[in-house]
């Protein structure tokens, strides 16, 4: 049995309803434990104080913001190559989740940056790239909303996703170049995603990253199921001869 079995909407819905309770449960446990452990079970950082604890929201959401776009890229490619509707609908379903993750990452970053850097916002390459990613998400969602014919919408948004990915990566490096050109790297030690974190902080962080990933998968399953049912309802109405 290959993964293409689930290109059939019925099979996909069956799988989705079967695994969703487990996904939701696992996601809530991982996020719950990770956050509670992170907020109450870890010591304050000796330089950053208790503000360091926002990392348990900031890093996982940033991670998922990028991976959501990556997932949209993969599903868009599958739609363009193999024309499986579930794939296109999954890309559509992932976009709003991705934009919320990007927003969470930006807002938590700003909340952390205010006491730490003394500013809500700095035109640092990382921050700027995330803002640009946010704009790409907005354009993608707006294009989905604007086109009435579902297949054309899937086609055009898929191609926009491919082209947008290239330009998003390009912007990422252009922005790095631009800020170095403006002044030397600002005091931005954001690079805590790797193992520059001490173990006490790392394990709850890892747990909440897993939790956010599970939450993302559960949300995409849920939203894709909704999109499939909307599509099915429209088809039924059309068959009943009442149009839309």
């Amino acid at each position: 049995m290959s993964i293409w079995t689930y290109a059939n909407p019925v099979k996909f819905l069956a799988l989705s309803t079967r695994v969703q309770p487990w996904l939701w449960a696992a996601a809530s446990i991982a996020i719950g434990v990770g956050l509670v452990w992170g907020f109450f079970g870890t010591p304050d950082d000796f330089r950053q104080g208790s503000t360091v604890k926002i990392i348990y929201l900031h890093v996982p959401s940033a991670l998922m913001a990028i991976n959501a776009w990556f997932m949209m890229l993969v599903t868009s490619l599958i739609w363009l190559i193999r024309r499986h509707h579930v794939s296109a609908l999954a890309a559509k379903a992932a976009a709003p989740v991705g934009v919320v993750m990007t927003l969470i990452a930006l807002v938590t970053g700003a909340i952390w940056g205010q006491p730490m850097w003394g500013t809500w916002w700095a035109w640092d390459p990382r921050l700027t790239s995330f803002l640009i990613l946010f704009l790409f998400y907005l354009g993608y969602i707006a294009l989905w909303e604007a086109i009435e014919d579902p297949d054309t919408a899937a086609d055009l948004t898929s191609i926009l996703c491919l082209v947008g990915s290239v330009f998003a990566v390009l912007s990422r490096y252009a922005v790095q170049f631009w800020n170095q050109g403006l002044h030397q790297g600002t005091s931005v030690p954001v690079a805590t995603g790797g193992r520059t974190v001490a173990d006490v902080f790392w394990y709850p962080l890892l747990l909440s990253m897993i939790g956010f990933a599970l939450l993302f998968v559960a949300l995409v399953f849920y939203r894709t199921g909704t999109e499939i049912r909307i599509r099915r309802a429209a088809a039924l109405r059309a068959r009943a001869g009442r149009g839309l």
Binding site: T152, F167, F177, G181
Partner: protein, 218 residues
């Protein structure tokens, strides 16, 4: 191909205001800047390269929605899509016509507007060079955006939302060249990057635009 180019150029010249509109918009944006930030010459000369680049970019954006929309309405696009000429080539020609009627006048007008903004003397050459290299990319990217939104009613705002993020790399490198040129520092690296972006978009994006347009017209 030449016939299509000449047709597009003629239409742009004659179709009442399309040709000069972008230039006038560029002029107005540049004139509004001192009103919004104050008339100090030193401040203006610092921000001049960026303002001129941003103004040129917005003027380019302004004329994008008529790039394909008029041809879509009167059915010319359907003819083009079924013509023996590949749609990729037709769209490249359309982008070229857009650049000749919008980008090139902006490049030529930029030094004049640079005087208004007190651009330092050594910056003019770099400003013109960066705009001449960068505006073709703006036209080609804009054609892609226009192809995406061609069938959508009231797609103008959506077009801006889609195209402006794609303009970011071009703007960064282009404005960087102009800024470094104005400061008198070495601007070779961003100039080469800008040229790279322009060449890559010219080479690759028409395929994306044509593929989008074929699906949109279907």
């Amino acid at each position: 191909m030449t016939a299509l180019l000449i047709r597009d150029l003629r239409l742009a010249m004659r179709a009442g205001g399309g040709f000069g509109l972008a230039l006038a918009f560029f002029l107005i944006v540049v004139v509004l800047i001192p009103f919004s930030v104050g008339p100090e010459a030193s401040l203006l000369s610092v921000i001049a390269p960026g303002v001129l680049w941003l103004g040129a970019l917005l003027s380019c954006l302004l004329s994008l929605d008529r790039l394909l929309a008029i041809d879509f309405e009167d059915g010319t696009l359907d003819v083009l899509a079924t013509a023996p000429l590949p749609l990729e080539a037709a769209l490249s020609i359309k982008a070229l016509a857009h650049w000749l009627t919008t980008g090139l006048p902006l490049v030529l007008a930029a030094p004049v507007l640079g005087v208004l903004l007190n651009l330092p003397g050594q910056g003019y050459l770099w400003l013109v060079a960066s705009l001449a290299l960068g505006t073709p990319a703006l036209s080609v990217i804009g054609t892609f955006g226009a192809a995406l939104t061609v069938g959508i009613k009231r797609g103008g705002l959506l077009l801006s939302l889609l195209v402006l993020p794609l303009y970011i790399p071009t703007l960064i490198f282009g404005a960087e060249v102009a800024r470094r040129g104005a400061q008198g520092t070495d601007a070779t690296t961003p100039l080469l990057m800008l040229a790279g972006i322009t060449l890559a978009t010219i080479a690759l994006l028409p395929f994306a635009s044509a593929s989008v347009l074929r699906r949109g017209l279907r």
